[in-house]
């Protein structure tokens, strides 16, 4: 069917990630247009309709109803819902504060904070209900066990647990030492550093977008696009050999993708200068080193001088440089993605002799 073909083509990583990123940024730019009940009804209705119609397709059904993929289907709905919900509250609050009206939280907790029974009792009930759901779930869907582990024949696709699929997707663009070691480490360190970097006191105890636009946009981009979306991509759209498969496509183990990626050094030396590659890897990769060093050393002062002047003054130099370093690391992933999609760029610095590839 032609619609299925179109959807298969549109869910390719470059379209999917680009479209999701643009959608997120645009929606945060014009939140009052996007985070309304009407838009939510259309979006979630559309999602349910998509799921309901697609489930008729055998290939789609096979992947979606796999017992270990079921939680990701839940996530597909829950994460957008809570994003939408908090953004809707933020939009309402922002409107109220410009109108000079009290905020939602102020109205609810004007005289006292409702702890018992409003918070504690409902939490208890939630706990019990969640336990019921988990037990029922574990009874209904058996653990998807496979054959005994065999180091000489690994399953294909060989997938990480679902919560690590974002990391596995990063491996498409970066070497294991970066995607598997440095970036996960930076994610944890960066999240821990947020309270020390973020000195903006606003948004404490109430929803708002207006007062924290920069922080929320950065976080949502990192979380939704660079984590959740990659998990979903890895779960539903990556098949045997980590090849991309559209949602209605058969997971053919023999599918081939042309691997024609080229290093930056090859672009410059072979295609640009028309010579062969120099023998010495340091000379060969000097442009890559220059670019990476420039990226981390030149951009922060530039930002401090020009676009992030305000941040530099409020945060001070140490906080500012830590923040920009983390930010640049985070931006490295989408930058590498775009370079890969547009120029088939394999590595900016590629020294496989020493397993040093960026």
């Amino acid at each position: 069917m032609i619609i299925k073909e179109i959807i298969n083509a549109l869910t390719a990583p470059y379209y999917l990630i680009t479209a999701a990123a643009i959608l997120l940024l645009v929606s945060l730019k014009y939140p009052h247009k996007f985070y309304t009940n009407k838009v939510a009804a259309i979006v979630f209705g559309g999602m349910f309709l998509f799921l309901g119609l697609s489930i008729l397709d055998p290939e789609f059904r096979k992947i979606v109803t796999k017992p270990d993929n079921v939680p990701i289907v839940g996530m597909l709905f829950l994460v957008p819902f809570f994003t939408w919900f908090s953004m809707r509250e933020a939009v309402v609050n922002d409107q109220r504060s410009t109108d000079g009206k009290p905020l939602i939280e102020q109205e609810e907790t004007a005289e006292k904070v409702l702890t018992w029974p409003d918070l504690v009792y409902t939490e208890l009930i939630c706990m019990v209900v969640l336990t019921v759901i988990l037990i029922g779930w574990s009874m209904a869907l058996q653990a998807p066990l496979e054959d005994p582990a065999n180091p000489s024949s690994s399953p294909n696709p060989s997938k990480a647990p679902w919560y690590f699929l974002g990391l596995q997707e990063m491996l498409v663009y970066f070497d294991p030492w970066l995607a598997g070691v440095v970036f996960p480490g930076l994610i944890i360190v960066g999240l821990m550093a947020i309270p020390y970097i973020d000195t903006n006191p606003k948004g404490n105890g109430y929803y708002t977008l207006k007062d924290r636009r920069w922080e929320i946009t950065t976080f949502l981009f990192g979380f939704l696009i660079l984590w959740i979306l990659l998990v979903i991509l890895g779960t539903f759209l990556r098949g045997p050999n980590w090849n991309f498969f559209g949602p209605y496509e058969f997971w053919d183990i023999h599918k081939l993708e042309a691997l024609v990626n080229v290093n930056l050094s090859e672009y410059i030396w072979v295609k640009g200068l028309g010579t062969g590659l120099p023998k010495n890897p340091l000379i060969r990769e000097m442009f890559g080193f220059l670019i990476v060093l420039g990226y981390f050393l030149l951009i922060p002062p530039l930002l401090a001088k020009k676009w992030f002047k305000g941040f530099y003054t409020t945060l001070g130099p140490i906080r500012f440089h830590v923040m920009t370093f983390l930010l640049l690391c985070m931006a490295a992933l989408p930058i590498k993605m775009v370079l890969r999609w547009l120029f088939n760029l394999k590595y900016i610095i590629g020294i496989p002799e020493y397993f040093f590839n960026i």
């Binding site: 907790t109 009792y121 009930i125 019921v132 005994p148």
Partner: protein, 564 residues
């Protein structure tokens, strides 16, 4: 939820709050200024707790309802049924008359006893007194002997070490010995007295006891079966208690049976795991003769003399089940064990009945009945023939005759002569036209030809895939023929003599014993397998059109000269 109010560092104080507008007005009179009414929260808490309780019970039940338990319950019912049948059988062959007679005699002796009641009572009382005395005396004797033994040790020790008090100890020992002997005399006397009283009593009871014993022997079969029945069915309460969750750690009646085969292994990557065959968890009657006519899974193994029984060459304790049959040794459910259907019908039936499906992860599923002899080959691969495995033997035979190993690598067949003849002298024997015809369809020439037809099969005749197969086949056959003849170096053979008498020839062929080895013409009796598979004595059908008379002359005269 934070209690801080927004706009902490803000400029203006928030105005006095109006009633929360966004909180729905539902149940406003009940919940007052709270978000939820406590009463309704109680209700929800009660409902969710009840659900939690129910789902926990459901979880335990789901965990405990296992397929094999159902089969074990069925088997107990079957055993009870069989025992009841046995009881019925015993009672039908029971000699009622003799039993009644015995019963009457027992009654009679009881009447006699009544008459001597006073005497018996007196003797009984005497016996009781003596028994009490015997107990006391015996104890005195044993205690004094214990004291004596320990004193004896003390004395001997003292003598051995030449202690000064040895003499004193010796005297004491003698005294103790005397006391002990007194007790011994007492004990012997009491024993004798008791025996006398017993003898006296036996005069009255002896006959009755003998009769009663006789009667019990008659009932032995009954009581044995009854005990068996009681063990099998001790009542629903006891059975369900023994198998109840948690309590079943003690001594459940439903349990997994297993044979641990420490010498036979499952090959897992980098690890050989001993086989643990749990098949007998459901196949409960497999090694007992009396279940021959019962349905699966309880049916007896069809060949107990060969398998399972302790006297057979393959006893269950050392071979188990999966080492021959295949399947997952530790599985305790029909599907997991990788049972394989013997026919398409059975496959459909199983899919319906058990939700059967082929498990792709089980390395060695069970061998279907048609291929069951393949299991023998695992061990019996050194000998040319496996006894009692006709199908396996004939399969191996076919491989050898038809030369599968010519193209397919097969362990054990590496050094066997190829099945086709030497073609290096082909031009001396055959002509090109015949070779073309033979290649096109060997069976046209000889109905039992072993060489397969390679051209003009269903996928290479006519025109398909843009190929004119007829043309191509002819070209290929011609090319092969030319190649064979171009490379053939025929032996120089003397010209054969001609002019024989066909009638005389027929007579000679029929009388000198050519038919001992050779056949002429198609073998009609296809059921006669040995005729089709004969390996010596070429079928001489259509020979005249194949080779020249001269070649036949030379061959019959001296085959070694033609083919050294």
């Amino acid at each position: 939820m934070s209690s801080e109010t927004p706009n902490e560092g803000g400029q203006k104080k928030p105005p006095i709050p109006t009633p929360a507008k966004r909180i729905p007005a539902l149940n406003i009179e009940k919940r007052g200024d709270r978000l939820y009414a406590v009463d309704s929260l109680h209700k929800w808490f009660a409902i969710s707790s009840l659900l939690l309780f129910l789902i926990t019970v459901g979880m335990v039940l789901a965990d405990y309802s296992r397929e094999w338990k159902r089969y074990q319950r069925q088997f107990v019912r079957l055993q009870i049924q069989k025992t009841q049948n046995d009881i019925r059988q015993v009672s039908s062959s029971f000699d009622r008359k003799k039993f009644d007679q015995l019963e009457a005699q027992v009654k009679q002796t009881e009447v006699q006893q009544k008459q001597n009641e006073a005497q018996i009572d007196k003797l009984q009382k005497q016996k009781n007194d003596l028994e009490a005395k015997l107990y006391a005396v015996d104890e005195n004797y044993r205690f004094s002997k214990a004291v004596y033994d320990s004193e004896k040790y003390g004395y001997e020790d003292a003598v051995a070490h030449k202690a000064s008090n040895a003499q004193k100890l010796g005297d004491k020992l003698k005294q103790t010995e005397k006391g002990m002997n007194d007790y011994k005399g007492d004990l012997d006397k009491t024993t004798l007295d008791l025996r006398a009283v017993n003898d006296e009593l036996n005069k009255y009871f002896g006959e009755r006891d003998a009769l009663q014993k006789n009667r019990e022997t008659q009932l032995a079969d009954f009581s044995r079966l009854q005990t068996r029945l009681n063990t099998l069915n001790p009542g629903a309460i006891i059975v369900s208690f023994r198998n109840a969750p948690v309590f079943d750690f003690m001594n459940p009646s439903e349990r997994i049976n297993q044979v641990i085969l420490s010498n036979l292994y499952n090959d897992q990557p980098f690890k050989a795991i001993p086989r643990v065959d749990r098949c007998t968890t459901c196949h409960l009657g497999i090694d007992q003769k009396q279940y021959q006519n019962d349905p699966q899974p309880f049916k007896t193994h069809p060949n107990l003399d060969m398998y399972l029984s302790s006297g057979s060459p393959h006893p269950m304790e050392s071979f188990g089940c999966t080492s021959c049959h295949g399947g997952l040794d530790r599985a305790t459910s029909f599907v997991n064990a990788a049972h394989m259907p013997r026919s398409e019908d059975q496959r459909k039936q199983w899919q319906k009945k058990y939700g059967w499906e082929e498990d792709e992860f089980i390395p060695q599923p069970m061998l279907p009945m048609a291929n069951i002899e393949a299991g023998c080959y695992k061990c019996h691969n050194g000998s040319p023939e496996v006894p009692q495995a006709a199908k396996l033997n004939s399969g191996r035979d076919l491989i050898r005759i038809y030369g599968c190993f010519g193209c397919h690598k097969l362990p054990g067949y590496e050094n066997i002569r190829k099945v086709g003849p030497d073609l290096s002298t082909v031009s001396g024997k055959l002509n090109k036209d015949w070779v073309r015809k033979w290649l096109a369809n060997p069976k046209d020439f000889k109905s039992q030809a072993r060489m397969p037809q390679f051209w003009w099969n269903s996928n290479n005749s006519g025109k398909s895939n843009g190929v004119d197969w007829d043309k191509r086949n002819a070209a290929e056959i011609n090319a092969i023929t030319e190649f064979l003849f171009a490379n053939s170096k025929p032996k120089e053979l003397p010209a054969g003599r001609t002019g024989g008498d066909p009638a005389k020839g027929k007579q000679i062929v029929e009388t000198v014993g050519c038919f001992g080895c050779h056949a002429i013409g198609a073998i009609k009796d296809v059921a006669n397998q040995s005729q089709i598979r004969r390996r010596h004595g070429y079928n001489l059908e259509n020979q005249g059109s194949k080779v020249s008379q001269s070649w036949i002359y030379n061959w019959v005269k001296d085959p070694v000269q033609v083919w050294p």
